[in-house]
Structures are given as C-alpha cells and as structure tokens.
C-alpha cells in the first residue's frame, strides 16, 4: 500500500504542512471576533483565570480618564501549558500590552493573540 512508504508519508507531511493554518477551536465559533484586525490593549492585570474551556485575562484599562475592564479570551490551559504558559503567566498588578482581535459588537473584549510585558518578556499562543 502506497501510504506505507516513507516517501509517501514525507510527501503527506509536506502537503499538510503547507496548507493554511486556521484558528482551530474545539469549543466555539470565532465569528464573534474581528479576525481581520489586530488591536493592542494596554492595561494592568486585574485577574487571570486559568480555566477551561478558555483562559481569561481581565485588564484594567484607562479609557477617557476612567478605569474600565477589558476581558480577553485565550486558549485552554491544556493547550497553553504545552506552550510554556502556567497559572502565573499573568500576575495581578502587572502592566501588559495585549494584541487581540476585538469583539465585533464593540463590547470590551477580544481573542488573545500575544502579550508583551513591561520587562520585554512576550507570550504567544
């Protein structure tokens, strides 16, 4: 059988690897987020929820002189821990800039893309 040959397997890996990567989620549709536009949200970590099915970073953000909460949905702990995250990846009081795809309906929330901390440390997913 052709699939049993190593060359075929290599070809297959190549073919699959070249295919475009979607934003795969086991859990829900990402239609609620504007995935065509990145926005950078700068704020202070209020709370980090290391929970399933999604992690949540809640930031205090200054908007028009007032402090408002901005909530950012991340991947699941099981996926993120394989990329070096843990329950202390975001600590309350830390300053951080987070790149997100914002909610399309204008509410203060978005899907996590990457974070840059004050000391230059970065986190992706």
């Amino acid at each position: 059988m052709i699939l049993n040959s190593k060359a075929a397997v290599f070809g297959l890996v190549l073919a699959l690897g070249l295919a475009a990567a979607p934003f795969a989620s086991a859990h829900h549709s990402f239609a609620m987020f504007d995935r065509t536009k990145d926005s950078v949200i700068e704020g202070t970590v209020r709370e980090f929820e290391w929970t399933s099915p999604h992690t949540w970073i809640h930031l205090d953000v200054i908007e028009g002189g007032k402090t408002v909460e901005f909530s950012i949905e991340g991947g699941s702990p099981s996926a993120l821990e394989r990329q070096g995250w843990d329950r202390n990846s975001f600590k309350a009081g830390e300053r951080v800039k987070v790149t997100v795809n914002r909610l399309r309906d204008g509410r203060r929330g978005g899907a996590f893309k990457r974070a840059v901390f004050a000391d230059g440390r970065t986190l992706g997913q």
């Binding site: 699939l3 049993n4 190593k6 397997v9 297959l12 890996v13 073919a15 699959l16 690897g17 295919a19 475009a20 990567a21 979607p22 795969a24 989620s25 086991a26 859990h27 829900h28 549709s29 990402f30 239609a31 609620m32 929820e49 929970t51 399933s52 099915p53 999604h54 949540w56 909530s71 949905e73 699941s76 702990p77 099981s78 996926a79 821990e81 394989r82 909610l103 399309r104 309906d105 509410r107 203060r108 929330g109």
Partner: protein, 297 residues
C-alpha cells in the same frame, strides 16, 4: 352447535396465537437477559473467550500521540484521489453535499459570518464526537489496547471511545443506539487496524465552525497504521449516502510523545458561552436552532 364449535375453535386459535406471541416475547426477553448476564464458567463459549483475548498478539498502536508538527489543516479528497474543490475561503463548502444538505450548511455559514453562529453543541461543552475529536483543536490522542478493545482517548473529548476487536458486530435496527462516538468495530489487516463505525448522532460536525453537517447515516472507516515506531498514520473515509453524493477521504498523521501526558480539562469549569452569559462573549445557544435540528429529516 356448529356455530358454537366454530366460536370455540376461534377462541382456541386466538389463545394459541397469544400463547405463541407470549412465548416469542419471552424468548426475546430471555435472550436479552442472557446477553446481560455475567459469563458463567461452566457454560461460557470458550471460542468467544479466545476471540476476546486473541488480540494480545495484535500489532501495538498504543501510546500517547500528538498531531505531527505543521499539520494544521486537513486535506480532503474523493476516493480516486482528486482533491475536493475549495469553493470558499474556509475551504469547507467543496464537499459533495446533496442540495438540501448544502443549503443547511450555507445557513450555518451565513449565521457564522453574521457573527451570530447557530448553537454548535460543543459551545455548551458537549463532546465533539468521533471525527471532530481528531481535528477540532489538534489535541493529543492516547490509545490503549486491552483484550477485545482498542480505546481512544482524545484530550478534551469524552467519553473514551471503545473499538471492539473481539468479533462483535454492529447492532442492527432498533438495537443500534445513536451516540456521539458511534459504535465501532475493528479488526487487524496485517499491521493495520481497520475500524468501521456507525450509529453517529447528527448533532456533531465534520469540521470546526461553521460546521460541516452529517446525517445519522454517516459511516466512518478508519485505517490506523504505525508506519514506524514513532509515527501513526490514520486514513479516514467519511461516507454519508444520505447527505452526500460520494465518500470523502482524509489522512491524519500523529507522532509519539514519550514525556507528555493527558491533562484533565473540564469544559464546564468556566464556560462563558452558555445561555444568559453576562460576560463578554455572546450567547450562542438558545436564540438559534441547535445543531442537528437545523438539518433535513
């Protein structure tokens, strides 16, 4: 007199028919009861017991497997190897759906694009089911083999999927229960485990959002081969004669990880996609038709 004997005869006939029916029902009930009884040392069918343990020498595909690096999107072909046409940017609607099933998919896609997706049960923490468990989030797959069974445990999917390798056949008719993992039977064809599955509930999908639909007639054939000690190749054929005009084939590639392990993940822990959620994500369930109920009968 004659009339009376006719009546008596009729009564006797009715009585006999009832007795026969009762006997048949009784026999069926007894058979069912037998099937549910523990094996008895004196009367156990030793041939069947042998079959149950026969796969102790079967090729070993057990291990902690993760999708091969770089594998991000499935490539689908028809059985002759021709790739499915990619008709839209999601690459999903090139599937060979019958018109009314395509319309159901288009409705899902339109709702998704409008930012108000229909209620995919996975959003309220249902398991993804047999096929979506492979592809949804490219999660690890732990395979264990025990006599008469091969178990598949996808991280974030439950319950554990059991493939019967003891010669069991699919239940037929009313006896076939429809479940998210379906009913799977397997046999070894050389080094390859060939798995045949039916009895799949129509609430599950064959892709991530917006979710390619399938009917309850979906028939899945998987061929699992350990092509080298650290590589598992899984060929999957999705055949749904009710929803599609022809079968679709794809291949999954997994690598062995010796130092990784399953995480416990409880989707209900903090799911904000439930009805009446008051946080930042929208409500996906409740105002829209739930998946499965939006499909042709």
């Amino acid at each position: 007199m004659r009339r009376r004997s006719e009546v008596a005869w009729s009564l006797a006939a009715v009585g006999a028919a009832c007795a026969a029916l009762l006997a048949m029902a009784g026999a069926a009930w007894a058979a069912q009861k037998d099937a549910a009884r523990p094996a008895d040392a004196a009367s156990v069918d030793l041939k069947r017991l042998d079959a149950f343990y026969a796969d102790a020498s079967a090729p070993n595909i057990a291990g902690f497997w993760r999708p091969a690096p770089g594998v991000a999107r499935q490539v689908y072909t028809f059985l002759d190897g021709t790739p499915l046409p990619l008709r839209d940017d999601t690459g999903q609607d090139g599937w060979p759906y019958r018109p009314e099933w395509r319309a159901a998919y288009e409705a899902r896609r339109a709702a998704d694009r409008a930012g108000a997706p229909f209620g995919d049960p996975t959003a309220s923490c249902w398991p993804p089911g047999l096929y979506k468990a492979y592809i949804a989030a490219l999660t690890p797959l732990e395979i264990t083999q025990t006599p008469g069974r091969v178990q598949m445990n996808h991280e974030r999917a439950f319950p554990v999927r059991r493939i019967f390798t003891d010669g069991t056949s699919h239940p037929e008719g009313e006896a076939l229960e429809y479940t998210l993992n379906g009913h799977s039977v397997g046999h070894w064809d050389g080094d390859t485990l060939v798995v045949d599955s039916v009895g799949l509930r129509r609430e599950t999908t064959l892709s991530t959002a917006p979710g390619l639909p399938h009917s309850e007639k979906l028939h899945v054939v998987e061929r699992l081969t350990r092509v080298d000690p650290v590589t598992l190749l899984i060929e999957v054929i999705l055949d749904d004669p009710k929803a599609m005009t022809q079968p679709v084939r794809t291949t999954l590639l997994y690598k062995l990880w010796l130092d990784d392990r399953m995480s416990e993940e409880i989707c209900e822990e903090n799911n904000r996609n439930q009805p009446n959620a008051d946080l930042v994500v929208e409500t996906q369930i409740g105002t829209h038709k739930r998946y499965g109920y939006d499909l042709p009968q």
